[in-house]
């Protein structure tokens, strides 16, 4: 079972407590502006006509996360109205940013973020669309980006050797990259 999920796939997924209640659904994923890590989630109500919630969910309060749900222990994992929100969307939002290697090769535009989520969600890589032609989408494992801004994600040169075509292959690619980095 894959531990990886695209950030875009998490939108509208239910936030489920151990008690089996869907207390909210994911509205948006918040990224840390400084390093691009997952900060948390903004939420919406579950009803057909319910709008956004004031409550947010910090990444540290997530018990587990997968392609079908975000699981939390109970409703107290959500921040109340009195607590500061985990952030505003867009801070470290890398969608549309240019992926560039340290050596200066442009890999394409970031179209999605790959999140590893069996436990607390962490960014495991990026889906990048090459400018082509032909336009091609690849998944790049990025254990730690060199630098992140709304315009650009700078990645180590080694990630180019571990591009994957889909999420199933991504797990293998991430393992390969980790192995390579340990050797260096």
């Amino acid at each position: 079972m894959t531990r990886y999920v695209r950030a875009s796939e998490l939108v509208k997924k239910p936030v489920v407590t151990f008690d089996g209640e869907d207390v909210a659904q994911v509205k948006d994923i918040l990224f840390e502006a400084a390093d691009g890590s997952v900060r948390g989630f903004t939420l919406a109500g579950r009803g057909l006509f319910s709008g956004p919630l004031k409550q947010t969910l910090a990444a540290g309060r997530v018990h587990g996360l997968g392609p079908d749900a975000v699981v939390i222990r109970d409703g107290t994992a959500l921040s109340g109205d009195d607590q500061p929100a985990v952030g505003v969307p867009g801070g470290g939002d890398v969608m549309g940013a240019t992926a560039l290697t340290v050596k200066g090769t442009e890999l394409g535009k970031v179209v999605d973020v790959i999140i590893e989520g069996s436990r607390q969600p962490v960014v495991a890589g990026y889906e990048v669309e090459s400018s082509g032609p032909p336009r091609r989408r690849v998944l790049l494992p990025v254990l730690r980006p060199v630098g992140v801004s709304g315009d650009m994600v700078v990645v180590p040169d080694a990630v180019v050797d571990f591009a994957a075509g889909d999420l199933a292959g991504f797990a293998e690619a991430a393992r390969g990259l980790r192995h390579r980095l340990e050797e260096e």
Partner: protein, 141 residues
């Protein structure tokens, strides 16, 4: 005992010596995973029973000590339809769906839930974290 086999079985009140209805649904709680209440379908005045009122899950009837007159020991609130696992999606603690609950295996004497049968997998009762209005949540991936 599989719920699919017990479903629809006559429920007989021992003191009244009468059919109270037929078994229609279970209410399940976790830690430990167990049946807490039964819902009946039928013409009787009571349509829910606490598990502790069950005398026996017999081959032809479920017998219960429902108490004819007083009925004080009948706590209707113990059956909650949101705690009925049947047909609900099974979500693992790491956010994967294992399909929907198609059957529940429980011990007819103690009420312990032994297995949850989902469309994609059979799940041991010990893995149950909770049954709610939206889903059945289980431990492990």
């Amino acid at each position: 005992m599989l719920f699919s086999q017990a479903n629809g079985r006559r429920v007989v009140g021992l003191t009244e010596a009468e059919v109270l209805g037929s078994l229609a649904a279970l209410s399940v709680a976790s830690a430990p995973a167990r049946v807490t209440a039964l819902k009946l379908k039928g013409r009787g005045p009571r349509d829910v029973l606490a598990w502790r009122q069950v005398e026996s899950f017999g081959p032809d009837a479920v017998t219960v000590r429902a108490g004819g007159e007083g009925g004080d020991d009948v706590q209707d609130d113990e059956f909650e339809s949101r705690r009925d696992p049947m047909g609900k999606p099974v979500i693992t603690e790491d956010g994967h769906c294992l399909g929907k609950i198609v059957d529940v295996e429980f011990d007819g004497t103690t009420g312990r839930v032994q297995r949850l049968m989902a469309t994609d997998e059979e799940i041991a009762g010990e893995r149950l974290l909770g049954v709610g209005g939206y889903a059945v949540v289980v431990r492990g991936g």
